[in-house]
Symmetry: C2
């Protein structure tokens, strides 16, 4: 065994010789950002070995400078520990998104505490049982049923064909006598969910979850009032096994018990959210009787312990799309009342999951009358078009550009990221998340700078970052000075080293622009295919709803300028925040909305772009930027 010390927290752990630093970090419970999942293809997991650095390997030589290697920098995914080692974790590689994610869990339209109409069948009834005697030898369960049969719920009789889970039967003989025959019964439709001592009818809660690849958000709701009483969002801890669903599937394929590990990670964070939200709202989590889960199809499968390996290579096959009604006990390790109802909303396809189904419900895309486009952008872009009651959906590979990967100074929208950029005369004005030193450029900032350079003609329609001399004479001289020659084409100086955490200049490179072009071409080609299938044009769209955390932070005008979303009046473009979470909350509070989701997923006409003959053509034609207006 080897002793490893992690700085600055001075955490000591022991690991076997030949353990990778990445695995040692996992063991120590320190989360770092590993966009490629530890494959050695992104070079982002850079750590500093203060003592005990082994020689750098070929992959490290590719991503690190000679100076960095000499200083002791290595890649955590590439370096094996062979002796006692002291390692410093630079703050820029740490995952420290908690506060930020929480703010992101809510969009424009739900930034206040939501209140939903609670039209669901989760009911609690206080009853006083008969006292059995030798002349009335009623069994405990029949006693409960008999008394319930005389009660009404919302003026309707309690269902006669009540069913009771074994766990409840096991506790009633002792419980009802300790309660002196005064109990509260929790019912969902004809199913007994719980029986408690005394009158607890006021304590009736549910929780909705949106399981994202990056973020897991839980929404705790009072099912009597319909009021949202706590929201907790956390980073998805599976991130250490890869940033996107494809790397997670890769991990499942190659690791021992990979699926089980990922399932345990997600259930672990769900449990944390249950505990934390209950504490915040000052309720007892045993009074949570119902939950609704949405997520993309891969997260859905992993949550349920269903192997997602066939989602990934063509022909992209999910195991199940339809909704599931489970009990908490069915999901091993889930710290909810074991008899609580668990509803898993339905998926639409391998890459259009239950989160999108929820988004459709939250934004009433199924309603006739208007043409509405719902766009949810991440590594994967999901696009849904609702037109005259018809629903069409596709999924398109946006790539990780907007999440920071494959961009020279790219990073997630976390502390230290530039998320707004504006060029004013000779100066570049930018906003840094949580202020402080600059660490990099996030998706929203990336869109802004490209839009600004397009506006100034520094980037041309084909996407080329022009030479100083190629630029129009109108461009301010100081700005022109920022154009430098790079390894592959030009680069544009965004921030000088003095303002950055690592003391290095931050650039937008020609390659960065190409990545954004690929992403926006993918999105636009997808939208075009959907519009064509629906037989309408972009001008017919009444509304574009930008969903997801990303949507909250982008500048709509700039998104239109770079051609990421169709060129409509800005008033028609709305950020709808976490539409998936809102849809999950609706399904939790309203049985009608939940049942609607169980019908809607079948109505969606899913268009597979990879086999669509027009897609490649549209993709290529969308690579260019639009003429600036």
């Amino acid at each position: 065994m080897i002793k490893v010390t992690f700085l600055p927290e001075q955490r000591n752990i022991e690991v076997k010789k030949e353990t990778r630093i990445l695995d040692a970090l996992n063991k120590a419970g320190i989360d770092i950002d590993v966009p490629c999942g530890g494959e050695g293809t992104c070079g982002k997991c850079k750590i500093l070995i203060v003592k005990g650095a082994p020689p750098a390997g070929s992959v490290e030589k590719k991503f690190l400078t000679d100076k960095e290697i000499a200083e002791g920098y290595r890649l955590a995914c590439q370096t094996k520990l062979i002796q006692d080692t002291i390692i410093e974790i630079p703050s820029e590689v740490r995952l420290n998104l908690k506060e930020f994610l929480l703010s992101r869990a809510k969009g424009d339209v739900c930034n206040t505490s939501n209140v939903f109409h609670p039209d669901n069948n989760l009911r609690k009834i206080y009853i006083e049982l008969e006292r059995p005697s030798i002349n009335n030898q009623v069994s405990d369960w029949e006693n409960i049923k008999d008394v319930l049969s005389q009660k009404k719920i919302n003026n309707e009789p309690v269902p006669a064909n009540l069913s009771v889970p074994l766990q409840i039967l096991q506790k009633i003989p002792i419980l009802i006598r300790e309660a002196d025959y005064k109990i509260t019964v929790t019912l969902f439709q004809n199913r007994i969910i719980d029986i408690e001592k005394g009158d607890t009818t006021d304590d009736n809660y549910g929780i909705a979850f949106d399981i994202g690849t990056t973020t897991v958000a839980g929404y705790l709701i009072n099912l009597i009032t319909g009021k949202e009483i706590a929201v907790v969002a956390k980073s998805n801890p599976q991130i250490k096994y890869g940033d996107d669903t494809i790397s997670r599937i890769g991990f499942i394929k190659k690791a021992n018990h990979g699926l089980q590990k990922l399932q345990e990670e997600i259930i672990g964070v769900i449990n944390e959210i249950i505990t934390e939200s209950s504490r915040k709202a000052k309720i007892d989590k045993k009074n949570i009787y119902k939950s609704v889960f949405v997520g993309n199809t891969c997260m859905h499968h992993i949550l349920l312990g269903i192997n997602p390996v066939n989602l990934a290579p063509s022909p992209y096959i999910p195991v199940i799309r339809e909704s599931l009604n489970l009990k908490a006990a069915d999901i091993s390790g889930l710290c909810l009342n074991q008899t609580a109802e668990v509803f898993i909303l339905p998926n639409i396809s391998a890459f259009v999951g239950a989160d999108i189904t929820a988004g459709i419900i939250a934004n009433s895309l199924y309603k006739k009358g208007k043409a509405v486009l719902l766009v949810d952008l991440g590594t994967n872009g999901e696009i849904v078009l609702g037109a005259q009651g018809e629903l069409l959906a596709c999924s398109t590979a946006v790539g990780p550009a907007f999440e920071g990967a494959r961009i020279s100074s790219g990073m997630r929208a976390a502390k230290g990221a530039i998320d707004k950029v504006k060029i004013e005369n000779d100066a570049i004005v930018y906003r840094v998340i949580e202020d402080g030193k600059i660490r990099g450029l996030c998706g929203a900032g990336l869109i802004d700078i490209i839009a600004e350079l397009l506006r100034l003609g520094i980037i041309n329609r084909s996407g080329k970052l022009l030479d100083r001399k190629e630029c129009s004479s109108i461009v301010n001289k100081e700005i022109k000075k920022r154009i430098l020659e790079g390894e592959n084409g030009n680069k544009f100086l965004l921030a000088k080293g003095e303002k950055t955490l690592k003391g290095k200049d931050i650039y937008l490179t020609q390659k960065d622009i190409r990545e954004v072009q690929l992403a926006k071409a993918a999105v636009n080609a997808g939208i075009k295919i959907l519009l064509r299938e629906a037989g309408i044009s972009a001008a017919d769209i009444n509304e574009i709803l930008v969903a997801g955390a990303f949507g909250n932070f982008i500048d709509k005008k700039n998104a239109v300028r770079i051609g990421l979303i169709p060129d409509l009046s800005l008033i028609k473009i709305k950020n709808v925040g976490n539409a998936a979470g809102k849809g999950a909350e609706l399904a939790l509070c309203s049985d009608e909305k939940r049942l609607l989701s169980e019908r809607i997923y079948k109505q969606v006409n899913y268009i597979e772009l990879s086999s669509n003959p027009d897609f490649q053509k549209e993709f290529i034609s969308e690579i260019f930027f639009n003429k600036s207006k």
Copy 2:
């Protein structure tokens, strides 16, 4: 720690100082007969301490002679180990009933391999799935549903609203591809029970269980042919915690995790029976998809982990009577296919359990036309009267006399028990179970000897065992010589010491006769009350069905003579063997019969004798024996 050696098997174990010998035996896995459950009230758990005997306690002095104590005999339930000890377990205290129980599991009417009409909805269907492609991205589950929807079961379409458990979803993505899309689906109604590779449609089995207080019997059945393919019976291992349900409930009340221990014991033996019967029938137990359980209400509750404590003191309240439809996974530790259907038949009252419900089904007591009496005698006597479609039932405390307890030389019907007795001129002729040396007198033998002594006038109507001089002069002199003076009244010499295992004479005592009188009075009073409630007399009874292992072995004529059952033409009295087991098999094979049981239990008019004003009166009037005919 102390070392204990058990002879003759030379088993060594280590236990903590102050451990009771009974607990050490349990730890060593040696089962002995402890009728009182270790309370020190029966004196039956007599073991011989070869080395390291501690002084005898007061309870031991009550049950053991001075000579026995000097030799090293002690009671296993009373003696604590304080030093290294060598203990010999006499064969007469061992539980070694296996072979015997097996023979008992079948009665007159089902002593050949049974074949039932298999009208149940457990179906297996072989299907070949579509191969998904980029142009047909059907999810695995929809693929299965689509292909099934084109199939017919018994000329009827497969139900459309199929439900699938999570465990099956978890295995299909890998399984169907390894199976090259050729699979067999097992269905019960609209529920998927299993999915297997290839064509396994011929392998379709179910198992029925009768969980008795003493014996657990399992009946493995081919659900396609309805043929019984293996029967395995085993001693209920809970016996070490007490002979009857009352002692088991006592154990649950006082022991730590007592309920859990008893549940583990019963599930352990059920699992052994599943494994053993599968091996006998040469089938794979994973192909058992359905099971039916019956048992008395206490065994029913313990099996399900439901606390039975309220069954015992008045007012005798069960937790649940109605039937339950569970999955194997609901019963923790049950080694069946976790998605297999488990049906628990309904109870009638705290002391008339699902075993009696099954007996009613097996013997069609619900049918109109005849008056039929079903009598199941154990420590508890359950009596059901079916008359003109009306069903009445009661439970009466027979006491453990017929199972050997409280009888001077009493024992269970096991090896060495006298189970048939006849007096011929000057000789006593008897049969010993499995021959060999006599160990004691079982219930059937007890009835015989009392009937013979009644016939000869050696016992008079009031139950007095007469003096030699009081006997009629017709009685053979040699027989008269067997009448000796005992401590409390006379005693009758049944077998001399030279023929017995322990070398001691075996007697029938006056006290033994009194025990039998109490038992037969209880049964008869119960029958009378039922007849009165139904408004008929004993002469109106068309049939008496004697159920249970005991019924198989008693001499009907003698049972009538001592007045244990009403005096009817012998042809009207039938041994129906294990009616409970047969009823469970019927419910397993036939959904109609199972559903019938779910209705029938509610139709039974249960008469509580303890609060019935006539019962005590009838009981006293039935204490006397009938006039001999």
